[in-house]
């Protein structure tokens, strides 16, 4: 599941690795835990591919005993510790077609998960951008990006209703599944978005969607970019819930809706009414040109979406505002390179990390923006 597209990120803090080209002294123990075929070691560092939660637990225990740092998908950034690759942990554990949720191991990629769901006419609820399709579910949940959101489901994280994870000391946790709870802080949100530093996600339960009765797409050309942004924002604020919504740098607004036919027609009519209020006109719907490579992206709150977009001196079709949801949207620019991950965790997160992981066992995930 390596994520090596990003630069930056902390290198694995040195563990008790050996010197030179030798395998670390603890490599044998890893081999014993996960099998020789799934351990590669050199220069005081190792790559392991556990195939089951129990093996992951063993890896964490060994790491603790020998004092090696653990990271997920650290790849080349692993300076001297254990790089865990979860790609073998990619099974669908339970598909609940009544509740429309799926419990899966976190090493599965979005692509593979969508494929498995597609066989049952299901799909992930959120409209994810194409460049997220090769990410693993674990990456999506531990290192979410601003582009991974949609008007109907909100941020992709909000599709998650429960996790199984390992805390830095190796404790296995499994959160109780319920649509909502009022039993204290939502503890799952320590690991979600924790970029692998507060726990390792081994499995998660996320909401899925059944293919809807009807589906429609529409596009509107607005006189200016600010008018297009205002249209999109208004649509969100009044309670429109398209499956997907995007605004191009040149002021075209696209949307896709699905559901019962009456609702689909009403959603499109609402978008048209708001677009016309802003001086817009319906235009023939052609899907926006696909952005393939991962673009530069920036989260913007709904409050400042117009000023933020305009201030970024954007023109032309390399810019798009996507991932609209009730609290904000994401500006992507395919002409600019993705940004490195933030260097420091927020103070509260750092403080919690010191408490849960006093020895700095879990190290951050590079490429996790």
């Amino acid at each position: 599941m390596s994520e090596q597209t990003g630069d930056g990120g902390q290198a694995g803090a040195g563990g008790g690795g050996g010197d030179g080209n030798e395998a670390p002294f603890w490599a044998d123990r890893l081999v014993h835990a996960v099998g020789a075929a799934h351990v590669m070691s050199e220069n005081g560092r190792a790559l392991v591919r556990p195939g089951a939660p129990a093996e992951l637990v063993d890896v964490m225990r060994i790491a603790g005993e020998v004092g090696a740092a653990v990271g997920i998908g650290l790849g080349a950034h692993n300076a001297g510790g254990i790089d865990v690759d979860l790609s073998r942990m990619c099974n669908v554990l339970y598909l609940d077609e009544t509740s429309l949720t799926v419990t899966v191991q976190c090493g599965i990629t979005v692509e593979a998960l969508e494929h498995a769901l597609g066989e049952r006419s299901l799909t992930l609820g959120a409209a994810l951008p194409p460049w997220s399709r090769t990410r693993t579910l674990g990456a999506l949940l531990a290192a979410p990006r601003a582009s991974e959101a949609s008007p109907r489901t909100g941020r992709f994280l909000q599709s998650c209703i429960g996790v199984q994870a390992l805390l830095p000391d190796g404790t296995e946790i499994s959160t109780r599944l319920a649509p909502r709870k009022a039993t204290g802080p939502d503890l799952m949100h320590v690991v979600l978005g924790g970029r692998g530093t507060l726990g390792i996600l081994s499995a998660a339960t996320v909401r899925v969607q059944r293919r809807q009765e009807s589906r429609a797409a529409a596009a509107f050309k607005l006189p200016t970019l600010p008018a297009a942004l205002s249209t999109a924002r208004k649509l969100i604020v009044v309670g429109g819930r398209p499956a997907d919504l995007a605004v191009s740098g040149t002021g075209t607004l696209w949307l896709e809706v699905d559901g019962p036919a009456a609702l689909v027609a009403a959603e499109v009519a609402l978008a048209e009414r708001i677009a016309r209020e802003h001086g817009g006109e319906p235009v023939p719907q052609t899907p926006p040109p696909r952005i393939k490579a991962r673009p530069h992206e920036r989260a913007v709150p709904l409050e400042t979406v117009d000023s933020a977009v305009l201030a970024s001196s954007l023109v032309g079709d390399s810019v798009r505002v996507i991932a609209w949801h009730p609290a904000g949207a994401c500006v992507v620019d395919s002409a600019r390179a993705p940004e490195p991950p933030p260097a420091d965790a927020p103070a509260l997160v750092a403080a919690l990390k010191r408490r849960l992981d006093p020895n700095g066992r879990l190290v951050a995930w590079p490429g996790a923006v």
Binding site: D96, T98, S99, L100, T101, G125, I161, T171, E172, I173, S174, R176, A178, P179, R180, K181, A182, T183, G184, P185, D186, L187, H189, V190, V191, L192, G193, G194, R195, R207, Q212, E213, R233, I236, V237, V238, G239, G240, G259, P260, A261, A262, L263, A266, E267, L270, A299, P301, L302, E303, V305, P326, A327, G328, P346, L348, A351, L352, R355, L356
Partner: protein, 506 residues
């Protein structure tokens, strides 16, 4: 410090020694008004004052109990270790309403109804209508993860949060954003005063609905009604409210006059309490017939018998289960959703009862019982257990809890707060003890039996009332090893352990 806004007088200390935990009311009716009194009560007016109070308390290791309006039903505000009750109600400003972005920034202490009123004045709604809206605060909602009657459309309070400001147990002020990674707002929301004092928050607001469409439906059984709700939600429809009353609950909600079929008398179990007490007190105006009154008196004394009879007979004697479904919002969307829902509900075997029951429910949804206490004078008690689970386990959960509680109390339920992936069940139970001690013993036994069944069924022990003191013993089961994370959060934010000590199973 804070002249005129600190009190150590006995009346104030007694007044703040409570919330609306029914067990406390049993104890009260036994003649013990305030077993746990605070040493002082303070009414800060600013974040700085809150910080000063907490810093002073931390220096002297004095417990602090944040207090909204004391409408909590789990003992959350009981000062069981003494200390200072910090009443937030004087911090009640609507700081900003951003009409363009649909967001409002509000101080924690505002009473819910005042907030809603202020938003309405500006053309907006929060869409959060707990039955306690007149006697609970915005901060209390956030602290306990409250749910309003229209949560199916607008979400629970935690779903609306964009930003939270809070003072931690060291007196430090934090302002955290829901777009952050991790989303720290979700650590604070629901912490019931154990991690800090919420001082203000920014939440999503919606334009006031252009249109409201509410109808009643009848379903032959709980199961078919649940199935209908599930289908609505999974077809992308977002009713503002869905409420399915089980056979017994429907029965008690039905008016005297037969032609009034399926018309709810009131807003739900909270108002049911009022019905109970009107039946139990000689002066109370009874709204139901004499034979029903007798049935309920019997129910309190011989619950197992009545539950059994009701379970066996009601489905046949009754006209089925009542379902209220309402849509609201943008006119075009709302009408289209209602049309699509009608198709779906008919397909699921529902019978349309027209707008009457829906409008009636809408009108009476604020009929909250503030006089709950009378029922306790009669030696009886009433409480509610709100639990939630995924659709696949919902009916098993319903049966398991009924089975566990039936021998001990008269029990009924409704299903509300529906989601794409599951639903909550709101049980109402009532029983009677021979005396205070007996009532307390029975009360504890009912909760233990009920929540053990809930946990075993894989569901959550609370959907929106929170944990406080009453459910604290069940927290280890609820969270398992993840309690370690909660303890770590506690240690980071409240190292001296002064924030609402003794609660939440920490």
């Amino acid at each position: 410090m804070m002249p005129g806004r600190v009190s150590t007088t006995v009346p104030d200390r007694i007044a703040y020694a409570r919330d609306l935990w029914p067990r406390g009311l049993i104890t009260l009716s036994g003649g013990n008004p305030a077993p746990h009194q605070p040493d002082a009560v303070v009414w800060p007016v600013s974040t700085e004052e809150v910080q000063d109070i907490v810093r002073a308390a931390a220096r002297t290791a004095t417990p602090i109990v944040p207090f909204g309006a004391g409408s909590g039903v789990c003992g959350g505000t009981l000062p069981i270790k003494g200390g200072i009750v910090v009443d937030l109600k004087r911090m009640r400003a609507v700081v900003e309403v951003d009409a363009v972005a649909g967001a409002a920034t509000v101080e924690a202490g505002i009473i819910g109804e005042h907030l809603e009123h202020e938003l309405n004045r500006r053309g907006f709604t929060l869409g959060h209508f707990p039955s306690s809206i007149m006697c609970s605060t915005f901060g209390g909602w956030l602290a306990a993860r409250s749910a309003g009657q229209f949560s199916t459309r607008y979400g629970k309070i935690e779903d609306m949060v964009r930003r939270v400001s809070f003072v931690d147990g060291r007196g430090e002020l934090h302002s955290v954003d829901a777009s952050g990674t991790p989303d720290i707002t979700q650590w604070i929301v629901g912490s019931e005063g154990t991690l800090g004092i919420i001082t203000r928050a920014t939440v999503t607001v919606r334009p006031s609905p252009e249109r409201q469409l509410y109808r009643g439906w009848s379903f032959p059984r709980v199961a078919s009604g649940c199935e209908a709700i599930r289908r609505l939600l999974q077809r992308n429809l977002r009713p503002a409210c869905v409420r399915l009353y089980d056979e017994l609950d429907s029965f008690l909600h039905r008016g005297e006059k037969d032609h009034d079929e399926g018309v709810p008398e009131s807003s739900g179990p909270e108002a049911m309490l009022e019905q109970y007490l009107s039946m139990l007190t000689p002066t109370g105006k009874s709204v139901i017939g004499e034979w029903k009154r007798r049935a309920i008196a019997l129910a309190l004394n011989r619950p197992e018998l009545v539950n059994r009879v009701a379970g066996a007979v009601l489905p046949y004697a009754q006209k089925g289960c009542l379902l209220i479904v309402g849509f609201e919002g943008d006119k075009g969307l709302c009408e289209a959703e209602a049309r699509a829902a009608t198709v779906e509900l008919e397909r699921a075997g529902g019978r349309d009862l027209g707008e009457g029951p829906g409008l009636r429910w809408l009108k009476h949804r604020y009929a909250v019982s503030f006089r709950m206490q009378k029922v306790f004078d009669a030696g009886a008690f009433v409480d509610t257990m709100e639990v939630a689970t995924s659709w696949d386990k919902l009916l098993d959960l319903y049966r398991a809890v009924r089975e566990a509680v039936s021998p001990l109390a008269f029990i009924m339920a409704h299903f509300s707060h529906a989601y794409v992936d599951g639903c909550s069940i709101y049980f109402t139970f009532a029983a009677r003890g021979a005396n205070t001690a007996d009532a307390e013993r029975k009360y504890d036994a009912i909760w233990k039996a009920g929540l053990t069944a809930v946990t075993k069924a894989g569901a959550t022990i609370s959907h929106h009332h929170g944990v406080g003191l009453s459910k604290a013993p069940f927290m280890p089961e609820e969270h398992g090893a993840a309690m370690e994370i909660y303890r770590a959060l506690k240690n980071v934010l409240d190292p001296s352990g002064i924030m609402n000590p003794g609660k939440m199973g920490l």
